[in-house]
C-alpha cells in the first residue's frame, strides 16, 4: 500500500496537494467564525451533485418540463427528497452568502491586498442569484412562470438594449420551449461553469492572502487540519441536516402547470427577492420603474464594488459598514412589509372590521332599497368618498368620518391580503389537483390539457361566469356558489309606480333560476315536486335581497295561473296526496331520477332496478303516466314514447346528453318551446357556426359533467 502511494506521489505529486490543502496556516487557530466560506463551498457542491442527478430526470420543454418534474417528485424513487434538497440548499446558499458578505465587510477583509478577491466574491454572489432566478422557472409551474415573467419584463425596460436583452433571454417574444432550453442551459451549463472558474480564483487568491484573522495574538496559530476542518465539517453537517429535514417534512412545492390563460393571483417571487418586489411598489410609471428596478439596485451593487476603494479613506470603513447595514436592514424591512401586506388577514381577528363592514353594508342596503322602492337615490353616480359623506351626514355621525376613513384604509389592506391568501390557497388546491390528474398518466399534449379538460377545475369557473347570475349552486348547508340577488319590485309601466297585489303587498320581480346543486337527483326532484318548495322564495326586506329560491320561486314559472304550469300543478294537485299516491310520487321520482344516471346515485338506482321499481322504457313510461291529482307527468311531458308535448321532454332527463342539449338550446321544441322559456339563453344554438355561440361544445360538456359530479377522483 505504502509502495503504491509512493509510486502515485512520484507520478502525480498528490502529497503536495494534500499538504497544501490541509496544512494551511491559521493565525490565532481554528475558529467557528471561519466556517462560512466552507459552508458555501459545500452548498455549491451539493447543488452540483443534486443538480446533475435532477438533470437525468428533467426534460426542458413547455410540454414536458412540469411533467418531468412531476414524475421526479411523485413517481421516481427518492425524487422528492432529491428535489427538496436542491430546492432548499439553493435558498440556504443565498442566506449563507449574505452572512459571508456581512462578515467580510465588518472585518474589513475587502481591504488591500484582498480587493480583487472581494470583487470576485461579489461576482459569485451575482452568479448565485442568477442561478436561483433561472432555476425557479424550470419546473414550468404557475409559481415559477409568473414570478419569472416579472424578472424578464424588468430586463425589458432597460433603456435602449432592454427589449433585445429580453428577447435573447426569453428566446423570442413569448415564453415557450426556447425560454426553457435557454434557462436550462444557463442554469445547468453556463452559470455553474462560470461559478467554478470564479470559485477557483476566489479560493486560490484566498490561499495566497491567507485568512483575515481576528485577534491572532490571543491564541497560538494552527493548521487548517484538523481543528478547522472539524469545525467546517460540523457547520456543513448542520446545513445538510437542515436541508434534509426541510426536504423530508416540507417537500418542495409544485403548483399547477404554467397556464398563460389563467389569472394567477398568487404570483410572488421567491422570498429572497421579495424586498425587490416590495421596493418596486413605491415607484410609478416608466421612469419610476427604471429607477426602482434598475438604477437604485445598480447603485447599491456599484457601491459594494467600490467598497475596497472607499475603505482606504479614513472614515471609509465605517461608511462601508454603515451603508451595508442600512441596505441589509432595509431589505429586511421591505421583506417584512411585503410579507405583512400579504398575510395581515391571517392574523387579524375575525370581526376586527365589523364596524367598517357594517357601515359599508348599510350603504349597500340603502342603495338597494332606493332601487327596489324606486325612490330618489342620493348615492347614484357618486364615488366612494361622496357616498360615505352622504351616509354619515344622513346618520348624523359626521364626526366619526375621519376615524372611519382611517379604519377603511386598514380594512382595504385587510381585504387585499384576504384575496391574496385565497389566491394562494387556490394555487395550492390547483397544484394538488394537477398532480392528482397527472397520476392517471399525462397525454403527450402535456398536463395543461388535463387541467383544461377537468370538470372539477373548470366547472365552477364556467358556472360563475355564465350561470351564476341566475342560478345558485349551493348544498344543504348553504355552501357553494351564490351571488347576492337584490330585491326588485315589479313596476307598473303606465304610472311608473310599483305594482301592488290585491292584498296590498308589492310584487317582487323574478330575477333568478333554480339552484342546480344535485340537479335531477332524487333529493332535488323531491323538492321540485313539493308544494311548499317549488315556488318558494325567501325575501329579506331588511337587506333588500332574495335570499333563497331553490326552484321556480324566483322565476316566471312560479306565477300561478289557472290550469297552467308546473308550479300550479304541484301546488294544487300534489298538496293533499293520500298514502298510496305519496308512494306513486316516490316511484315517479325514483324512475325519473334514474334517467340521469348520476354517479352519486348509482347504487340507489341499481337497488331500485333490483327491486323492480325501475324497469324497461315501457314500464317506466307507465309509471310516469300514473295520474296524481287530475294529471299525470306524460299529459304534458314527453317520456319514452308517451308524447305529451307542452312541456320539456323528460326522456333521459338530467342525463349528460339531455343537459348538453338543454344548455345548448333550451328553446328547442324538445324543451321550452313557444315562449315557455323564462330567460334561459341558448348557449350553443349554432353547432355549424362556432363564432355565434356563447359557449363551445367542450365548455358545455365540462359544465354538465361538473353539475353531474362526473369527474376523475383518484382511488383512495
Amino acid at each position: 500500500m505504502n509502495q503504491l502511494l509512493l509510486w502515485l506521489d512520484d507520478r502525480t505529486g498528490y502529497k503536495g496537494f494534500v499538504r497544501d490543502a490541509l496544512y494551511e496556516n491559521i493565525p490565532g487557530g481554528a475558529r467557528w467564525r471561519y466556517v462560512w466560506g466552507s459552508t458555501l463551498m459545500f452548498t455549491f457542491g451539493v447543488q452540483m451533485i443534486t443538480g446533475i442527478f435532477l438533470w437525468m430526470g428533467y426534460s426542458p420543454s413547455a410540454q414536458t418540463a412540469w411533467e418531468s418534474v412531476y414524475y421526479i417528485e411523485h413517481q421516481m424513487v427518492g425524487g422528492s427528497l432529491l428535489r427538496g434538497v436542491h430546492h432548499y440548499t439553493a435558498q440556504l446558499m443565498v442566506v449563507l452568502i449574505a452572512i459571508h458578505l456581512m462578515q467580510v465587510v465588518i472585518d474589513g477583509a475587502y481591504k488591500a491586498p484582498r480587493e480583487i478577491n472581494f470583487w470576485i466574491g461579489l461576482i459569485l454572489m451575482k452568479i448565485t442569484l442568477a442561478l436561483a432566478l433561472t432555476g425557479y422557472l424550470l419546473p414550468w409551474d404557475q409559481k415559477g412562470y409568473w414570478a419569472t415573467q416579472v424578472a424578464t419584463k424588468i430586463a425589458g425596460i432597460v433603456p435602449v438594449v432592454g427589449p433585445w436583452m429580453q428577447q435573447l433571454v426569453v428566446g423570442g417574444s413569448d415564453y415557450g420551449h426556447h425560454t426553457l432550453t435557454r434557462f436550462f442551459a444557463l442554469h445547468a451549463g453556463v452559470l455553474p461553469g462560470l461559478m467554478i472558474v470564479f470559485i477557483v480564483l476566489h479560493v486560490a487568491m484566498f490561499r495566497r492572502h491567507g485568512i483575515k484573522a481576528r485577534s491572532p495574538e490571543k491564541r497560538p496559530a494552527a493548521y487548517f487540519w484538523p481543528d478547522q476542518v472539524l469545525k467546517d465539517g460540523v457547520a456543513c453537517f448542520a446545513v445538510l441536516l437542515t436541508v434534509l429535514l426541510l426536504a423530508r417534512f416540507a417537500p418542495a412545492e409544485l403548483t399547477a402547470p404554467a397556464d398563460p390563460s389563467d389569472a394567477y393571483g398568487a404570483a410572488r417571487p421567491e422570498w429572497y427577492f421579495l424586498f425587490l418586489f416590495q421596493f418596486l411598489k413605491f415607484f410609478h410609471g416608466e421612469t419610476g420603474e427604471i429607477i426602482g428596478a434598475i438604477v437604485i439596485p445598480g447603485l447599491v451593487m456599484g457601491f459594494l464594488f467600490l467598497m475596497p476603494l472607499i475603505g482606504r479613506w479614513k472614515i471609509g470603513h465605517a461608511l462601508n459598514v454603515g451603508v451595508l447595514g442600512v441596505v441589509i436592514l432595509g431589505a429586511g424591512l421591505l421583506t417584512y412589509l411585503a410579507w405583512n401586506e400579504d398575510n395581515v388577514a391571517a392574523y387579524t381577528a375575525e370581526g376586527a372590521f365589523s364596524g367598517v363592514e357594517g357601515k359599508l353594508t348599510a350603504i349597500e342596503i340603502e342603495k338597494r332599497k332606493h332601487r327596489a322602492e324606486r325612490t330618489e337615490n342620493p348615492y347614484r353616480g357618486k364615488n366612494e368618498r361622496e357616498q360615505l359623506d352622504i351616509y354619515f351626514k344622513a346618520q348624523g355621525i359626521e364626526d366619526e368620518l375621519d376615524d372611519f376613513l382611517a379604519r377603511l384604509e386598514k380594512y382595504k389592506a385587510y381585504k387585499k391580503s384576504q384575496e391574496h391568501l385565497a389566491a394562494v390557497e387556490e394555487a395550492e388546491r390547483n397544484g394538488h389537483r394537477a398532480q392528482e390528474l397527472a397520476g392517471q398518466g399525462i397525454p403527450p399534449a402535456g398536463a395543461l390539457s388535463l387541467i383544461h379538460n377537468d370538470p372539477k377545475t373548470q366547472g365552477p369557473k364556467l358556472f360563475r361566469r355564465h350561470c351564476a347570475s341566475c342560478h345558485d349552486h349551493v348544498d344543504a348547508e348553504g355552501k357553494g356558489i351564490s351571488l347576492l340577488r337584490p330585491l326588485v319590485y315589479e313596476v307598473d309601466k303606465e304610472s311608473g309606480k310599483l305594482k301592488v297585489a290585491d292584498d296590498g303587498s308589492k310584487i317582487p320581480l323574478p330575477n333568478a333560476a333554480p339552484n342546480l346543486y344535485g340537479f335531477a337527483s332524487r333529493e332535488w326532484l323531491r323538492g321540485l315536486l313539493d308544494p311548499q318548495k317549488i315556488a318558494a322564495h325567501t325575501i329579506d326586506t331588511d337587506t333588500y335581497q332574495v335570499r333563497d329560491a331553490p326552484y321556480f320561486g324566483n322565476t316566471r314559472h312560479r306565477v300561478m295561473r289557472e290550469d297552467e304550469g308546473m308550479a300550479w300543478y304541484v301546488k294544487t294537485h300534489l298538496a293533499n296526496l293520500g298514502e298510496e299516491e305519496q308512494q306513486s310520487l316516490e316511484k315517479i321520482i325514483t324512475v325519473l331520477s334514474a334517467e340521469a344516471g348520476l354517479g352519486s346515485q348509482r347504487e340507489a338506482d341499481e337497488q331500485a332496478r333490483a327491486d323492480e321499481i325501475i324497469g324497461d322504457a315501457q314500464q317506466n313510461a307507465a309509471i310516469l303516466s300514473t295520474a296524481l291529482g287530475d294529471f299525470s307527468c306524460t299529459d304534458c311531458h314527453r317520456f319514452h314514447g308517451q308524447d305529451g308535448d307542452s312541456a320539456p321532454d323528460l326522456t333521459g332527463y338530467g342525463s349528460r346528453q339531455w343537459m348538453i342539449d338543454f344548455v345548448s338550446n333550451p328553446n328547442h321544441e324538445r324543451f321550452y318551446s313557444e315562449g315557455a322559456n323564462d330567460r334561459m339563453p341558448a348557449f350553443h344554438k349554432a353547432p355549424n357556426d362556432p363564432n355565434q355561440n356563447k359557449l363551445t361544445k367542450k365548455e358545455i360538456e365540462l359544465l354538465v359533467d361538473w353539475l353531474r359530479g362526473d369527474w376523475y377522483e383518484p382511488a383512495k
Binding site: N25, G79, H209, L240, A438
Partner: protein
C-alpha cells in the same frame, strides 16, 4: 498580516505537546467521519434517485394486456404476415394513446378453429434488431448479424449462427368473437440462450 505562500509556510504553529495527542486524534477522527458524511449523503440522495429503474417495482409500470392484432380473415393459411401491435404506451410521465409499439409475425397452419395461429415477435433474440421475413426464401432474416430463422421460427445453423435461440414465440394467443386474433405482446431479454420476458 502574514503573507504566506503555500510552499513556504513561515509562521508554523508550534508542535503539539504529547498530552494533546489524544485530543488531536479525536478531532482528526471526528473530522474524517463528519467530512465523510457531509460528502457522501448528497451523493447518496442523488444515487438513490438514479437507481430508480432498478428500485421501482415493475408492477406499476407495465400492464400485460392482450391487444387485437388482426382478424383471421386477413391471414391466409400457410403464409407469414407482419402486423403492427397497437397499444397504449406509457413512457415515464407520458401516456400515449393507442399506437404502434412493435410488430409481430403471424402464421396460420390450419383452418381448424381450434388450432391457434403462431405469433412471433419481430425482435431478434440476438441483440434486438428487427427481423425481416423473406417471402422467396421462406425465412426470417435479421439485417444486423445475419441471424436466420426458418418459417417456424427455429434458428438455422445453430452451431454457427450469432443468435442464441429460436425466434421468440408469443404464447398468450386468443381468438375472441370468433375471428379476432388477440395477443399479449411481450419483450424478451436478448443475447442469452434462455427465453425470459423482460
Amino acid at each position: 498580516m502574514a503573507k504566506s505562500s503555500p510552499d513556504t509556510p513561515t509562521d508554523d504553529p508550534p508542535a503539539k505537546a504529547g498530552a494533546d495527542e489524544r485530543r488531536t486524534f479525536l478531532v482528526q477522527a471526528s473530522a474524517i467521519v463528519i467530512g465523510g458524511i457531509v460528502g457522501f449523503v448528497p451523493l447518496l440522495v442523488g444515487l438513490r434517485n438514479f437507481l430508480n429503474p432498478l428500485l421501482r417495482s415493475k408492477d406499476d409500470i407495465e400492464v400485460d394486456e392482450a391487444v387485437r392484432i388482426a382478424t383471421l380473415d386477413d391471414i391466409e393459411i400457410g403464409k407469414v404476415y407482419r402486423f403492427k401491435v397497437n397499444a397504449i404506451r406509457v413512457d415515464a410521465w407520458s401516456k400515449h394513446p393507442p399506437g404502434p409499439i412493435g410488430a409481430v409475425y403471424v402464421r396460420r397452419d390450419s383452418d381448424d378453429p381450434k388450432v391457434l395461429p403462431k405469433v412471433y415477435t419481430s425482435v431478434c433474440p440476438h441483440l434486438g434488431c428487427s427481423v425481416d421475413y423473406k417471402e422467396d426464401r421462406q425465412q426470417f432474416v435479421c439485417p444486423c448479424h445475419n441471424g436466420t430463422f426458418a418459417k417456424d421460427g427455429t434458428l438455422v445453423d445453430p452451431e454457427t449462427a450469432p443468435p442464441p435461440r429460436d425466434l421468440d414465440e408469443l404464447e398468450d394467443v386468443e381468438i375472441r368473437n370468433g375471428n379476432e386474433l388477440w395477443v399479449v405482446y411481450r419483450r424478451f431479454r436478448s443475447g442469452i440462450a434462455a427465453k425470459i420476458a423482460e
